[in-house]
């Protein structure tokens, strides 16, 4: 690589050119210096950090479009590879459902009571009245003795009927929870809303009007005619009179 030597004559001619000694106009220089002084007095603007390589890629006009196209293309390829539309039935096949352990309990099963604290277990007999005192030996430390256990405190698991077992095997239920009404005290039951014992129009939250119905609303619209009652006199006279025997007519008729 041969370097290019500067022409000494051309450089000399350039140095002796008529504009070699020319300088910038004074007013232009003054304006430039004034602008420099003004800008030097200003606070430095926060430096804009040049974006990183990834940021520069996103700032490109084709960056976001390319990312969106990539996502769409990946989705299309995924659908083609899967061969079927996504859905909950396929997202979680039934054969992969978790099998919960089902424990069948007897309807009269009671859960195991929590153990008494050690202090209560060791000092069971603490009579408060002197007349109820036991012998001295029973009120002392009895931790060495084997505590009495409740009979049947561990219930044998109740086995359901063969029909239920067959149904559980054919169509397993994911979870069996026996809901038993909770035992509530009496005062709690009294505070609960009672069943409706009022007339619908008397009920507070009914949509019916609060005014009681008219008095004849509870009666039939027309009382059936009885043979002992006088026949109502209509305008134009009765058209027909049912055939009634005189023996059956009331005395006043």
């Amino acid at each position: 690589m041969k370097p290019v030597e500067a022409d000494a004559h051309l450089r000399a001619a350039l140095r002796h050119a008529p504009d070699a000694e020319v300088a910038a106009p004074a007013d232009v220089s003054a304006q430039i210096i004034a602008a420099a002084h003004r800008s030097a007095g200003e606070r430095a603007a926060p430096a804009v950090r040049p974006p990183t390589a990834r940021g520069r890629w996103w700032l490109q006009p084709w960056g976001a479009s390319g990312a969106l196209a990539t996502v769409l293309m990946a989705g299309v390829i995924g659908l083609m590879w899967r061969g079927e539309t996504p859905g909950p039935a396929r997202m979680w096949p039934r054969r992969n459902w978790p099998r919960y352990r089902v424990q069948h309990l007897h309807p009269r099963h009671r859960p195991r009571q929590p153990k008494q604290p050690m202090r209560r277990r060791l000092f069971r007999h603490r009579p408060s009245l002197p007349s109820q005192r036991r012998p001295q030996s029973q009120g002392r430390w009895q931790g060495h003795q084997r505590p009495n256990r409740r009979r049947n405190h561990r219930c044998k698991p109740w086995r359901p009927s063969p029909v239920k077992r067959w149904r559980q095997r054919v169509r397993p239920r994911r979870l069996q929870v026996r809901v038993r009404p909770r035992q509530r005290p009496e005062w709690w039951r009294r505070t609960r809303p009672q069943p409706l014992r009022q007339r619908p129009w008397q009920h507070r939250h009914s949509h019916r009007p609060l005014q009681p119905p008219p008095g004849n609303a509870l009666r039939p619209a027309r009382q059936p005619w009885q043979p002992w009652q006088p026949w109502p006199q209509r305008r134009g006279g009765p058209r027909h009179r049912p055939a009634t025997s005189s023996a059956g007519s009331p005395p006043g008729a």
Binding site: P3, A13, A24, A40
Partner: protein, 201 residues
């Protein structure tokens, strides 16, 4: 105490020292003004002040974002002026061709480089001769394309090497070299047509 470099002065100016900018301005304003005038030529000499001022204002605005990137601050300033001159010429409607066809053709050196230059001496006659040669060189520069003119001025006026030229103007090394040789060849031819009469006279 050594003189602070241009980079140190620019950093001091970015920190708020206006006196540092005054030193920078005093150091480079004459050369930059000459460069801008010669680059624009006689046809656009009226816009030299505007380009010169705009260049310095841009340097002032870029004081916080400027970072020394291997090239000298003076080179960066001259490159800034070159870009501003190109913008100015484009704005005035002139056709600027930065890619000349001659860049692709191999350069053929002159068979007989002109050697009729007198030795530069301090005599009054020689000084007048060189003054006339300089004027002639400016006239010849007007006939050069802007790309070759820029390369020649930066090489001969600012003393940049071809490698630095290529990096400053973002050109290939061979392109910068070819432009420089074409410019020197044309200027030699242009000057040779004029100078023998002077030398003979």
């Amino acid at each position: 105490m050594p003189e602070p470099t241009d980079d140190e002065l620019m950093r001091a100016f970015a920190g708020g020292d206006a006196a540092a900018f005054e030193s920078l301005y005093a150091r480079h304003q004459a050369a930059l003004y000459r460069f801008v005038r010669r680059l624009l030529g006689s046809s656009a000499a009226t816009q030299a002040d505007e380009v010169f001022q705009d260049t310095w204002l841009r340097a002032i605005q870029a004081r916080h974002s400027w970072q020394p990137q291997g090239a000298a601050w003076r080179t960066w300033l001259f490159t800034l002026a070159h870009h501003r001159a190109v913008d100015c010429l484009r704005k005035t409607g002139r056709e600027i061709s930065m890619e000349s066809d001659q860049d692709l053709a191999p350069w053929e050196p002159d068979a007989q480089p002109w050697a009729g230059w007198p030795a530069a001496q301090s005599s009054a006659e020689d000084l007048a001769f060189w003054r006339a040669a300089g004027q002639r060189l400016l006239d010849c520069l007007d006939g050069l394309p802007l790309a070759q003119k820029t390369v020649f001025l930066l090489h001969h006026e600012d003393g940049l090497s071809v490698d630095e030229l290529a990096r400053a103007l973002e050109l290939g090394f061979e392109t910068a070299k070819t432009r420089l040789r074409y410019a020197m060849s044309k200027l030699r031819s242009c000057m040779g047509a004029y100078l023998p009469q002077k030398v003979a006279g």
